[in-house]
Amino acid sequence: MSLRKKRKRAASEPEELNLLPLMSLFVALVPALLYSAVFVPVSALGLDFPGTGGAAGASPLALAVRLADSTYTVEGVPDSAYAPIPRLTGEADPLRELRAELDDVHARYPTSGGAILVVSPQVPYRDVVQVMDQVREAGFGNSTLLGAQP
C-alpha cells in the first residue's frame, strides 16, 4: 500500500475517544461516594426531657399521651375527656384513633406545641416511637418523655 493511500485511509477512520481521564474521575469518585453512602436509611428523632426547656414546657396546653401496657390515653385537654384507646386488641387501628384525637386537639389549640408522653415501664421502645411519630405528624413537634410509676 502506498503512503498516500495509507494517509487517506487513516484520515477516513473515526477518531477514538480517549476515555482514560473519565475512568480516572470515576475511580476517584466511587470510593468517595461509597464512604458517604448510606444503604440502611437511619434518621434522627429528637426528644425533650422534663426541665430541659422543651416545647411542652412553653405550650399553653399541657397535653399528655399516656402509654399504658394496654391503652393509649390523651390527657390534659381542658373541657374534654378522651376515652382510653385499647392498643392490643387487633380489631381497629389504635394509632389511627389516637391520631384522630390528636388532630382534633391540634385543630382546637393550633398554637400549642410539644406533648408529654407518660410511658409505662414495660412498653416496648417501638410503641413509644410510633406514638412520638403520631404526636409529631399531628403538628405538636417533639415529645417529652416521662416514665410512669410501675
Binding site: E16, F26, L29, V38, V40, A44, P121, R136
Partner: protein, 170 residues
C-alpha cells in the same frame, strides 16, 4: 519433509511479524457503563450534611417517619444482650433490666470517660470542638421503656442532655 518444515517456519515467522504490528487497545466502554450506573446508585444513597450513622449489628431499630439528620456525637447502643458505648461493651442489658436504681454505674463511668476525652480534645483544638452534651441512642425496638429510661437518666447525670434517637426511615 524438510521443505515442508522450512516453509512452515517461514510462514510462522511472517505471522509473528504481522501480530507484533497490531496494537492492542483496551475496550473501556463497558467499564464506563458499569461505573456510570454505580455512580448514579451511590449518588442516590449519598448523605449530605450530617453524620452517617449505621445500625449496630444485631440491633433492629424501630421504624419512624422522621427524616432528620444527625450531628457528630457519641453513640450509646442498647442491644438485647448488652449496652455499648462508642463500640465498647459496658454492661449486660439484663443487669440494667434487673436493677431498681435509675442510675447505671458502669454506663456512667463509660460516658464520663467519653466526656473527658471530648473535653480534652476541645482543649487541644481550641474552641472549635467543645463538649455540647449531644448523644445518639440506638436501641433495639423490643427493649422495654424502663431500660431506656435508665440509660437516658444516666446519660443526663453525666451531662449528655441532648439525646437523639436513631430510627429506621419508613
Amino acid at each position: 519433509m524438510r521443505g515442508y518444515l522450512v516453509g512452515t517456519a517461514i510462514r510462522e515467522r511472517k505471522r509473528r511479524g504481522s501480530e507484533q504490528a497490531v496494537v492492542a487497545r483496551l475496550q473501556l466502554t463497558s467499564l464506563i457503563d458499569i461505573f456510570t450506573v454505580l455512580l448514579l446508585f451511590l449518588l442516590k444513597s449519598l448523605v449530605v450534611g450530617g453524620a452517617v450513622v449505621s445500625p449496630f449489628p444485631g440491633v433492629t431499630l424501630p421504624p419512624s417517619s422522621s427524616t432528620a439528620t444527625f450531628k457528630e456525637s457519641p453513640v450509646v447502643v442498647v442491644t438485647r444482650s448488652q449496652v455499648v458505648v462508642d463500640g465498647a461493651a459496658v454492661c449486660p442489658t439484663d443487669q440494667v433490666m434487673a436493677q431498681g436504681e435509675l442510675k447505671v454505674p458502669a454506663l456512667e463511668q463509660a460516658l464520663d470517660a467519653v466526656r473527658q476525652k471530648t473535653e480534652g480534645l476541645a482543649e487541644r483544638a481550641g474552641s472549635s470542638r467543645k463538649f455540647e452534651g449531644k448523644l445518639i441512642l440506638q436501641a433495639d425496638e423490643s427493649i422495654p421503656f424502663h431500660v431506656l429510661q435508665k440509660v437516658m437518666y444516666t446519660s443526663q447525670t453525666v451531662g449528655f442532655y441532648d439525646i437523639t434517637l436513631a430510627v429506621i426511615q419508613k
